[in-house]
Amino acid sequence: MLRIVRVIIATVVFALVTLLFFDFTGTMSGVAGWIPKIQFLPAVLALNLLVVAILVVLTLVCGRIYCSVICPLGIFQDVVSWLHGKFKKNRFAYKPEMKVVRYGFLILFVATLLLGFGSIAGIIEPYSAFGRIMSNIFQPLYILGNNALADVAEKNDSVMFYHVDLWWIKSLAVFIIAVATFLIVSLIAWIGGRLYCNTVCPVGTMLGFLSRFAWLKPVIDADKCNKCGLCARNCKSQCINFKEHEIDYSRCVACMDCIGKCHKNAISFSHPKKTQKDEAENVDTSKRAFIATAVTLASASVSETQAKKVDGGLAVVEDKVAPTRKTAITPAGSVSAKNVQQHCTACQLCITACPNGVLRPSTDIETFMQPQMSYERGYCRPECTRCADACPVGAIKPITVEEKSSTQIGHAVWIKKNCIPLTDGVECGNCARHCPSGAIMMVPSDEKDETSLKIPAIDTEVCIGCGACENLCPARPFSAIYVEGHEVHRTI
């Protein structure tokens, strides 16, 4: 019975959080946006003390139930392990705790966080690892499916499904990490059930400290037990030492599988007769910084305009190439580059939520895998606050459309040599026409000649750095106007 409840809750949570990472319409964040916010490490990094307190109390009452029904990576491993169980029954056996490995990883995790080598820490953190797997591997598949449906809808003149741009590999380094995480976690789960959670996962180890002292836990009644070992052979945490009637509660994820398996009803989810001291565990709040390899590429090619001789046809439109920015741009709501760096777990949720192709994982050393903005595919639309709505850790804080319109995340810079009125000799002004804050004025290119072709003049005090000018600039592949980020956002 308890197992069924666990499975139902886990299924619902997993389905919701998965859809949250798949969704590109912004509708899921209202339904499932709370799930990332109750994840342990995101709550810690967001300094969401209420959630942390609730999770601590939950663990102290019911054990590591968090790992079974809230952690999406944990549920994912249960699915893999369950699939293996379909082929091979009773495949587990009790194994003693791998203390050295387990605490080694925890120490390494905390140390890397404190020392600022957070990229290693971020890689093993379960929620963001799950996010990277979803956003890098499965969301593209979901979009592929959506686009197939959109093609069908288009043929039937329906607007039920619409095409969205598929951007498969936003960053090669992050993609490789996501694939590697997916393969390794799946393999470990296939072989050893919850082995990852009980050896590598720092959240699992931290909650393990608490769950030893949980009020309710699976308890073996030595009088009823006939030592058949069925519970231990079905324990994916491999933590039931049936011979001694002992369970390693620091590794037990309260999945309730053993309770149902026991023919003698010898296991119950209850308070053990022998009481134990409760002890609270410190949780760490720390800053983050990241290291990694950086990949940059730039290519230049000559753009040519097509001469008009015959009717019809389309001129080639070259893809835009991102300029080299001295300061990276972070989304409105993120307050400062430092705030993102300190709070972001690189779960990629904001990146999957961005409908304009603006956010992508950073490949810079200090901010590896964290969100960064660039405007080759679109620009930060004034009506959109989806990344801020999505962020569970407060790296991008909630922001209203009005606040966003007065938040300066960067400023535009003009590149004379690319500007179309000067290179092609035609009128343009597309940047000024689309600037939502009216920061661009068109002025004569020849100061002595009022009728000369006009070039943009940027009022950087008013510019908010949304990138409309950069994205809509006709100069290709490099725009004649681009945005430099601000380390600390300002309000105008």
């Binding site: 288009e154 305009t305 097509q306 009717d311 019809g312 639309r381 004034p382 689309h434 006709p474």
Partner: protein, 470 residues
């Protein structure tokens, strides 16, 4: 990266493949015409009832339906969403079939130009006429001196274009040769294209030599050029003139665009001088077949079995000095419907004329862009798909999907239909927000649309729609 592109291309090919399949299964894939064409079964098209008009000079009998070779069917190669165009090619097999069918049903006038269909129309027309098996004397070929680009303004380039036309059309004489779209760019451009280089004199000499049977011009734009050419009729002896005429432009051309001239004036000027008229844009590029629902209902109520388009064709044919009415028929269903309309032409009654004038007033009250999708403006040097944007906008106007206000009762539905349809109709990098307003397109527009201004207006509307601040 390579994987991404392959996948996308695969999807596109797969999509295009199934589109072609659907088209071939259902015969007609043209959404706009779908409703119009359903009524008539192909078996009903008569082969011997075509109405003919007589050319007063040559005494040739010209079919009142002329085949415009500007909107030939393409083998659809839809461009990918990231803006990389793939070359679309004319579906020659289909063109051959259409031309043969037209000839079999009495059509004998074929109008092309060196500029049409990205420059491939003449060649396709020549091949199809040859393949039809009809004798050269059984059909009439019209083509044009389409020297729009300044680098074709020299005498040599003009003569080369004329000779190339004969080569591509596989003919040794041309029945109808036109100075193409005079009026665009005013007298200045006209002089550069035909007078300063002596091209008009050359063409007149060619007519005397018998290699051009009839010499005329097609007119759009600046009325000064039209008046000048007619004033010099005694000198050049125009055998025909091609004008834009339909039941909206008869009296309302100026209303929709003050720079245009009413067809009533153009036609009467020709009639005064006994010059036969050839009619282009009888359907305004299909706009007079894609009408708002209640206008469609009005026309259908009067003649339930006739297509919406048939009204426009009958109107054009109603004028007795009209030699032929051109229609750019892309699909067999267009051709069949038009053949039915003109085999034979049922003349309009005075009542019908009043009725159409009332309809025209209704139509001009709709805020559609006067774009006929002729693609003369294309290619835009900055990659904008100008006609696709206007076509989408007009479609939404007619379907009531251009909300005026967020409080409109169907606002949410209309907004989604407009925005989703927009992304489908036009690749993102070719949308109106990328128009820089350089204005290079505007002089090419035969409808005199201020294209940049219209694009910016539509872009502004779309941006407000996206932001939800309408």
């Amino acid at each position: 990266m390579a994987q991404k592109i392959n996948r996308r291309r695969f999807l596109k090919l797969f999509g295009a493949g199934s589109a072609v399949l659907t088209a071939s299964l259902y015969g007609c894939d043209n959404k706009a015409q779908k409703t119009v064409m359903k009524e008539k079964a192909p078996g009903d098209v008569p082969t011997d009832k075509m109405t003919y008009r007589v050319n007063p000079k040559t005494k040739d009998k010209i079919s009142i339906l002329g085949y415009g070779m500007m909107r030939l069917p393409n083998i659809e190669q839809k461009e990918s969403k990231d803006g990389k165009p793939t070359e679309s090619v004319i579906d020659q097999e289909q063109v051959n079939r259409l031309v043969k069918y037209a000839l079999d049903h009495g059509v004998n006038y074929f109008d092309t130009s060196p500029a049409y269909c990205k420059g491939h129309s003449e060649e396709a027309t020549g091949i199809a006429l040859k393949a039809s098996g009809y004798d050269r004397s059984k059909y009439f070929v019209a083509t044009k001196l389409s020297n729009f680009s300044p680098d074709t303004w020299s005498r040599e380039a003009g003569i080369k274009m004329y000779h190339d036309s004969m080569k591509y059309l596989q003919v040794d004489y041309i029945d109808y040769l036109l100075l193409h779209a005079v009026g665009g760019g005013g007298m200045e451009n006209f002089n550069k294209r035909y007078m300063d280089n002596g091209m008009l004199d050359f063409l007149v000499a060619e007519r005397e030599a018998g290699r051009i049977k009839n010499l005329g011009f097609s007119y759009h734009g600046d009325i000064e050029v039209f008046d000048y050419l007619l004033a010099n009729h005694d000198k050049y002896k125009w055998d025909f003139v091609q004008i834009q005429l339909n039941y909206v432009d008869w009296l309302h051309a100026k209303e929709t665009n003050p720079r245009n001239t009413n067809a009533e004036y153009l036609y009467n000027e020709l009639k005064k001088r006994n010059i036969p008229a050839i009619i282009m844009e009888p359907l305004l590029g299909g706009r007079l077949s894609k009408l708002p629902d209640h206008v469609v209902a009005r026309l259908k109520q009067r003649r339930p079995e006739d297509s919406v388009a048939s009204w426009a064709f009958r109107y054009a044919g109603h004028h007795d000095r009209v030699l032929t009415v051109l229609s750019g028929m892309t699909y067999m269903e267009h051709l069949q419907d038009n053949l039915c309309t003109f085999s034979p032409l049922v003349d309009l009654t005075p009542d019908d004329l009043d009725f159409l004038e009332e309809t025209a007033k209704l139509i001009v009250s709709y805020p559609t862009v006067q774009c006929n999708d002729c693609k003369y403006c294309m290619p835009c040097p900055y990659g904008i798909d100008i006609p696709a944007i206007f076509v989408h906008y007009n479609k939404c106007v007619n379907e009531g999907n251009v909300p005026k206000d967020a409080r409109d009762p169907n606002y949410a539905k209309a907004r989604k239909a407009f925005l989703v349809g927009y992304d489908r109709a036009v690749a993102k990098v070719r949308q109106a927000d990328h128009c820089i307003g350089c204005g290079q397109c505007a002089p090419h527009c035969p409808q005199n649309i201020n294209i940049p201004e219209e694009l910016h207006r539509i872009d502004g509307f779309i941006d407000r729609l996206k932001q939800g601040i309408l």
